[in-house]
Every structure is written in structure tokens, then in C-alpha cells.
Subunit: 231 residues, 2 copies
């Protein structure tokens, strides 16, 4: 982890949170002044479940996994973090603790902004408060639907949903390098790693995907969507 404050201001940052559009240049300057940039290597932990939540985190480069460390040393991955997204979690307004951990999946540049500063803007800037609420609400909705998916779909449907998530939301391409191990794909889809292997093999044999070592290509997206929807 290497510090690096040698970066231009938030005012013209192209990776910034959408909600920063609701801040004036003066307010953005304040954000800048309370910012801290850090770099992480693949595998390094950005923050850890249970630790105090003093800063909001934004990635300006790379991807990271967000996961809950649950019972019996089992992990549940809740999603992949990427640029332009607030990573802080619902602890901010509850108990000032992180409720999940975040670890770099690639080399990552992260921008830490003091939470006190953002909270102050929630107080004083109605538009910003509204934007913050929208952000929390969207994530809450996503969690709902992931929950529903896990409860009601069978393994094939859940893994199909995960592949679609990775293609559409994260890599924004039907052909991408899979950064997750089978173990991690399992933690994200709620199944054992062996099940991931078997189902990927099924999808391969049915020409729904082409799974060539670290690369995955979706060949038949309609069918994958159908499997995801039908469970």
C-alpha cells in the first residue's frame, strides 16, 4: 500500500461518485482537502469487517470484492466494487462500523474521503442528501433481489445470474477475464466450489459459455437469461 496525494482535484475527476454532481465547486474543494489516495495490490485488504468506518471509499482504478465473514469461517460475497460507486456500507448511519470487508481483485487505486465531511453535506445540502438516499436505496433493492434469487432459484439459475451480473454490471462485455476463483464464484452464488465447476461444465457443453481458463465468453445470452429467470 503506497500513498500518493499527487492527483488532480475531485472537481474534474471522471471517476467520481454521481452524487458529487450535487455539490458546488466550493464544496468539492472541501472534499478534495479531506481526501487521501492509496494504492493496493491484488489480494490486499482495503478495509475489514468490524473496523471503524471513518471514511467513504471510492475506487478510481481496479476492482475489489465485498464480502461478509459469516459463521464457521464461511464467506458470503455480496458483490464486486468498481469505479464511481460509494463503498461504505450501511454502518455509516447506524454504528460507524464496517459490516463487510473489501479486498482488491486487481491492482486498485482507492480514494478515501472523511465521512464527517460527507455527513455534513447531507445536513446542509438537500440535493446531496437525496442522492445519498438514492444510493443506499438502490443497494438495498439489489440486496433484496439477490436474496430472493438465492432463496427461490436452484444452483444453475443462481450461477447464470452471477455470470450475467459479471458481464453486464462489472465488465460491461460478454467476454471478460474471470478474476474470481471457483471458490469465490461459489461465495458469490451461494454454492460449493465443486458445484460451480460442474455447472460451468454443463454450460460449456451446452455452448452457452466458452470457459477458457481465465477467460469467459457468453455465447448464448438469451439461454443464460432464461436459465437465470426460470431458476
Amino acid at each position: 500500500m503506497v500513498n500518493n496525494t499527487n492527483v488532480s482535484c475531485c472537481i474534474d475527476c471522471e471517476h467520481r461518485w454521481e452524487n458529487f454532481n450535487n455539490l458546488s465547486d466550493e464544496e468539492l474543494k472541501t472534499v478534495c482537502d479531506n481526501r487521501h489516495i492509496a494504492e493496493f495490490k491484488t489480494g490486499e485488504i482495503i478495509f475489514k469487517q468490524g473496523s471503524p468506518l471513518s471514511s467513504a471509499v471510492f475506487l478510481t482504478k481496479g476492482l475489489a470484492k465485498m464480502y461478509i465473514e459469516g459463521y464457521d469461517n464461511k464467506r458470503m460475497m455480496i458483490g464486486i466494487a468498481k469505479k464511481c460507486r460509494l463503498i461504505a456500507g450501511p454502518g455509516t448511519y447506524v454504528d460507524n462500523r464496517h459490516h463487510y470487508s473489501v479486498a482488491a481483485l486487481t491492482d486498485v487505486t482507492a480514494c478515501f474521503i472523511k465521512m464527517d465531511v460527507l455527513k455534513e453535506f447531507v445536513h446542509t445540502n438537500g440535493k446531496f442528501a437525496e442522492g445519498y438516499l438514492r444510493d443506499v436505496s438502490e443497494k438495498s433493492l439489489q440486496t433484496f433481489y439477490r436474496f430472493l434469487s438465492h432463496t427461490q432459484k436452484k444452483m444453475h439459475g443462481r450461477l447464470a445470474a452471477t455470470l450475467l451480473y459479471l458481464a453486464d454490471e462489472i465488465h460491461e462485455s460478454d467476454k471478460f477475464t474471470i478474476l474470481l476463483s471457483r471458490q469465490e464464484l461459489g461465495e458469490l452464488s451461494g454454492m460449493a466450489k465443486e458445484s460451480v465447476v460442474r455447472i460451468l461444465k454443463d454450460f460449456n457443453e451446452d455452448n452457452i459459455i466458452k470457459d477458457k481458463c481465465p477467460n469467459i465468453e457468453i455465447l448464448n445470452k438469451d439461454k443464460l437469461k432464461m436459465i437465470s429467470n426460470m431458476g
Copy 2:
């Protein structure tokens, strides 16, 4: 469903949302003026998944179930609604739609408040915005932990957790009338109704609960907690 506007003002309502403490009497008066009271009989639907979200709902009497209608006509209950709690859901700041349905479990008195009014206060009153964020965040956290519980615990652990939820959060007593059918207990705990029956029988035989028809009494709470924690 019977209308009844003949109720005293929000200013001295003892069932009101905690976050209303952040409003001035004048602001509360505005809330009052945009309020609508309605009564529901057991089983009646208060609002329905997919319908437009124009009002926040608060119960002033009774209990209701909140549930998502998922795939294949299966329902997933997400919790029980009670007094003093905002019932509106994360659609408010996303797409103005309800993402779950709410139905009365007892006779219910519900108070509808125009969402536009609350949104306006989020804009103009920083404390209120903060309180709203806290509310959404708390619910988001609860969903997380319920999700984790469903993913990592086995049936006995999940049903134990549900019984503790009903005792501690909803009825605030270790002895209560079970308002839910076995079917509904299953929808809340993520299992088939037959499994609910069998596990309740187990708990009975082990003297952990006394399940006498519509009443349930928790006899050995420590053991129930242990089962809930260990999965």
C-alpha cells in the same frame, strides 16, 4: 377498509416515527394536513408490490406482514410491520414503486402520509434527512444479516432465529400468540411448511418451546439462541 380522519394531530401521536422528532411543530402540522387514516381487517392488503408508491405508511394499531411475490407463485416474507416504523421500502428514491406487498395480520389502523411531503423535508431539514438515512440503513443491515442467516444456517437455526425475532422484536414477550400459519412461518424462515411442523415438534420435545395451538411460549431461550447461532 373504512376511512376515518377523526384522529388527533401527529404532534402528540405516541405511535409516530422516531424521525418525526426532528420536525418542528409547524412541520408536523404540515404532515398532519397531508395525512390519511384507514382501517384494514385481518387479511386485507394494505399495499401491493408493483403499485405506485405515493405515500409512506405507518401502523398505529395492529401488525402486518411484508412479503415479496417471487418466482413460481412462491412468496418470501421479509418481516413483520409494526407501530412506529416507516413502511415504504427502498423504491421511494429509486422508481416510485412498491417492491413488496403488505397485508394485515390483525385488524390494523394505518396512517398514510404523502411521500412528497416527507421528501420535501429531506430537502430542507438536515436532521430529518439524517434520520431517514439511518432508517433505510438499519433496514438494509437487517436484510444483510437475514440473508447471511439464510445462506449459512440450516433449517433449525433459521427457525430458531425466526422465533427469537417474533419474541424480541415483534411481540416483546417470550409468550405470544402466533399470528402466522405454518405456511407463513415457512415463508419467513425459508423452508417448506412441513419442515416448520417437524422442527417445531422437535423444539417441543426438547422442551425449548411450548407450542399450544395458537400460542407459543419460549421455555429455554438460551438453547434457542444457541441453535440460532450455531446454525
